[in-house]
Symmetry: D2
Subunit: 407 residues, 4 copies
């Protein structure tokens, strides 16, 4: 048995298939992929990695299995899936996910690493575990898959607490120990036991507070959009394929951006936190439906059109259209007086949080500081934004910016 | 200057009038009044006192004044008020407040201690401070009074963080440092500066989660009601006056209950955590309006009537009707794009939380375990509770009980 | 199974005999005995109790048993002993221990509560456990007794961490989780496994730092000595017996001191932190051997003699002679390259810490502030203290006082 | 004023020259240099950077200046020096320092960045600060230089607490707030005020415990030695100069090692934690003086000689000779009864700690696992190690290994 010291869960015991998986290159690669990507440009102490997060998810899965009384190969499969759940991540976490997905047709949680004849599949097989079934768990399939990837999964329990610990923002401090203890299965569904509506609510509230303060902080979003844009130009300018890029780690991507003439400026700006500024910052209601529905190609075309309209270099316009907010935890199930109920039915808070998330949504157009005025005006015309009121260029948004002064 | 080590705020510097006030008997008395009263029967590590809380409130007031740029006698008055804000508390904190109020016509935050010719008033005068004006600040009067007792006061900032620290329940971990930094005055009103709607929301959410989990936990409420009942009988059976009792500390009250024949059983049960159980636990909608409006005398009469109806000893019935939930923070003011707005207007979450608080409200009738069945049935009849459904005797309420197994 | 939330260990699971013991009056009584007694007069947030500490010791014992692979009745006995280890404590923890011992001939860890026909013995018997054997474990007898009361016991692991948490002094933050994991039995001795010399050292260092900063802080010692003196006078002035007093809790003792004319002044001073000051503060080398060897009666006689010599009221002199420092952890056993070695042999630090403890030792004579000069001079003559140098009245001792300004 | 959220010090306020320096490329570069280098291979959550550490040092310097009452340009210079103190660091922190020093004749704390005509010097000049004087402070010159780089400097206060926070090892939790408050100047020397011998001791003890557990953990040392060796071969195999390399960040160095044939194997082993093992692990007393005195060239020659003797590839032998332990804090000055004393004179613990550090010293020879036996035997012969006893190949050293099982 291996014991690893973790700054969040203290001691994590690793044994069985997990100990063997730990030494495989795909798992070790996660040491070099940051958990929060560009968020460190807002919260400088948020430098934690997918590796420590994966250990944490494994640990919570192990605790949950113990409370659920699940043992043997079934438990080994879940533990393996927990440790491996991020193994398909591209560099800089979610920041370049969408881009790679468009080019390869594969999401980060696809299971190539598990199914091929690589070291992970080999270790699984040596321990008598079917890689396909482990991949299914990672994808959230089956009863136990809900524990790894579902409304009440250990993934989000770990990341909320860990992100709070490393950013210093206290809002993510859920009672994960209680959550893990109160899980049970009723009719094949993972539910929280009696008396835990509030425990479930606290998970939603934590995410609702961490979202604008940390995950969607505008500075992190600007940097993330610049990184996405730079990576696109890297793929266009070099013979690097999206397939290859998704196996890189953060070091590889950053140095590649530095070494390529077409992207060197982005790399320098990202490395030195010399970021674009918000030229437009528009609420949900201000944005026409067809803009909301734009795919990646359409976004590129709009960026070019705005640049032309503003008469600036095409690199000087980055358009950022986040997806519509969703809140899967609202379908979390909780036992209430013996009945399984969805949290969305039971909790008065859930719909409020859902509405608040839409309030917080913003479309962004970003540009170098001295061109942002011109780019903003051009973007409003090109995108047909509803000019009614201050919303369109609301650079100090009430619900949104924390530590704004740091921009 | 005195420096005091605090487990929440680390080092607290005390100087000026506060250092002199610290040594007065009314402030030292707070060492012997627990912050959360009977909550320690649910959370055994919650043994913190009004004294350390008062130091914390003083500290946050001092920090806020420094950020607001307020100095001199004006600041000294606020610091004095912060340190003194709980000096009028009766023993066991809020648990016997209402009782004493009924008998003396005075609330805990009345200002007798400050206005009389006692040591506190003497120290204030020696430092050139008018006791009346300090008393006004404690009562929340004036611009700066809002800082001591208002929607965004330092009192609740300290108690949320401190109660979380000592109970171990993580929900109270607000970003108090940020709250203190972001306060400003606009047109004589204390408001949070731009970009802090969410900071204000987090304060409400913290209280919304701490409330049912900690402050209103049913075990704490049962014990609190038994303590209220025992204290009433103590006043009836002895020549102790309510005036005298409110100057006692926790030690005095507990020992007095032990030494009096009429109350010795309550004292034993409270000391040994051998508490009554819930005979009835009814939601807001199940309770007739006249019951909700009952005053202290009416409650006593109902307890007697239920006991008669159930044919049990009159000591065996304790009725607990909490006041209607309020949420003063919802009128907290926040700057949004240059305008002062009330949080209740700006935040989608606020109304949801208000509704959730009413969902969590419960009327309780408590009785010894082996009589609770009989008392419950009698209470439903006597109080005319609406018998529709499981709500009336919902002993495992979804939104409510945490750590239920500990009852 | 009962789960209790603890501010130090988070969730503590209680089951089996421990759950039944928890509800007995002798265990519940520990809720009303503070862990650190008068230390709260230095560190205002240190209001934790023997009850939460006992839960913590139970928890660590349970963890250690699990790592050691010990199960069944043997483990139940150890868990019971861990929960019960402080059940014989007198009020105000160690502060009045010595006094009661002198009068009753029994130490706090005597086992009256366990052996009699009280509720604890009854619960033990009902669970098939022999009270005598549990009492033996509490006294540290046998292999497993070392876990409850020995050089590496879970008692001190809990109190160091808990006292650090509640005082805010960081020095007690040992790696208790690691200590518990690394325990093993070799030839019937509890030892730390290979690679843990430093883990053992950290336990000693933590205590070496907490000792002068917290446990032996001069303000706590002054108050403790005044409490000891007041309790003696209470026993002399009333018909309370030492036997009865040792079953009291803190509330009982404090109120009794308030209600007795002979001790009311001590009670007021202790309640209001209006303490005596140091009249003499003398190092080990300055004190004659016969003074060091004085028993309780001799101390009383010396106090009287000093008072006579100084021409002050006899209540105005309190003499405090701490026992010679010991350091039992230095005989902790650690595996080094397969051999069991005593830490004292292996660690260069251990002897240094032993020497440092003697450096920190001080004899104290305390008196009301305006008489302390006169009392000090009288005490030096009466006790025959070696007048060489500043040591005798060293009121700002380098190795000793922390947060001195708070006196 | 900029406010930055930090996971250790909560909110850090940046203003004046520091705010301007923050945006310079040399300071932003520190975002990409890890604080603990290869230590993350032992403690996976230790991914913090020199950037957040520099902010922390700035913050503590600012607090100390405020307590010392130092203001104006003098304070600005110190704050600038604190923020800049690590700006000359080479990639991977101390891991490749010695190597670069040998090749460039410059230490990491040389002041090229400050003195040249780069952006840092420009910002300093614009704020009226002389770059030379700031450089002097970084080098510890003058009264105030002691605060930045001296026995009681804010650098080590920050790193102890920060490294504890991120590794999860509790031993570094000093009372840094108290240390900062108690600093004062006496006759031009920075000393700790009365009553702080123990505060000073705690700083030493923290480092004494963190050293073997974290900084000198054998796994971190193995990886560091492999990194040093790989970097040497990179410089030999490519036209990269040592001058250029020291301006790289961690990304640059790791990718360069991956891209160079001669070093690709080292890069892969380091990235995947597939490290060499200890072939020899020898105590101080076992090593001949001339080996201890070996310079970099001599080390290379010995590695080659051992490889030849063992008949293995020359890459398969890495020799690691740490410098003799020193303990500069032992000359820290503390006020004791009005006299300035050196801690080494005053504290019984200091000499013990010094001795313990030498006990913990180990020479290491590392090799791939399946060749380590052969390499070990060859190294003992070649280095002339004293074969007396188990010390030479003590792979489970008592005082040393923590979490050994993780190797």
């Amino acid at each position: 048995m291996t014991t690893i010291k973790d700054s969040v869960h203290d001691h994590i015991e690793i044994q069985g298939v997990a100990a063997a998986l730990l030494d495989t290159p795909p798992v070790q690669r996660l040491r070099h992929i940051s958990q929060l990507g560009t968020v460190t440009l807002v919260y400088p102490s948020a430098n934690h990695t997918r590796f420590e997060h994966s250990l944490g998810v494994y640990h919570l899965a192990d605790r949950a299995l113990s409370h659920l009384g699940i043992e043997g190969q079934q438990a080994e499969r879940v533990r393996a899936a927990a440790l491996l759940h991020d193994v398909g991540h591209s560099p800089y976490s979610h920041n370049v996910e969408a881009l790679i997905h468009r080019r390869t047709g594969k999401y980060h949680d696809d299971v190539d690493e598990l199914l091929g004849d690589g070291p992970v599949a080999r270790v699984l097989s040596e321990h008598g575990l079917n890689p396909d079934r482990v991949a299914g768990l990672v994808a959230g399939e089956g009863e136990l898959g809900q524990l790894v990837s579902g409304e009440l999964d250990v993934d989000r329990m770990d990341y909320l607490v860990r992100d709070a610990h490393h950013t210093g923002v206290p809002y993510g401090t859920i009672d994960h120990e209680r959550l893990v203890r109160e899980l049970c299965f009723v009719d094949g569904e993972l539910v929280l036991d009696e008396g835990n509506v509030q425990t479930a609510e606290s998970l939603l509230l934590a995410r609702a507070l961490m979202n604008p303060t940390v995950y969607q902080h505008h500075v992190a979003r600007i940097a993330k959009s610049m990184l996405r844009r730079g990576t696109e130009e890297l793929l266009a300018a070099t013979d690097t394929t999206a397939e290859a890029l998704r196996r890189w780690d953060d070091n590889d991507l950053l140095v590649a951006l530095r070494q390529c003439d077409a992207t060197e400026a982005y790399a320098r700006r990202l490395s030195q936190r010399d970021l674009y500024k918000r030229a437009v910052w528009a609420e949900w209601g201000a944005v026409p439906d067809e803009i909301l529905a734009a795919d990646h190609e359409a976004v590129g075309a709009m960026e070019q059109a705005i640049a032309d309209e503003a008469n600036v270099d095409s690199d000087a316009v980055v358009l950022d259209i986040p997806p519509e907010p969703s809140m899967t935890e609202s379908s979390s199930r909780v036992l209430v007086n013996g009945d399984v109920r969805r949290l969305g039915e039971q909790s008065t808070l859930v719909n409020a949080i859902r509405a608040a998330q839409r309030d917080q949504w913003r479309l962004g157009v970003y540009a170098p500081e001295d061109e942002s005025e011109r780019v903003g005006a051009a973007a409003i015309r090109e995108l047909g934004l509803d000019l009614d009121g201050a919303r369109v260029r609301d650079v100090r948004p009430g619900l949104h910016a924390t530590l704004d002064e740091f921009n």
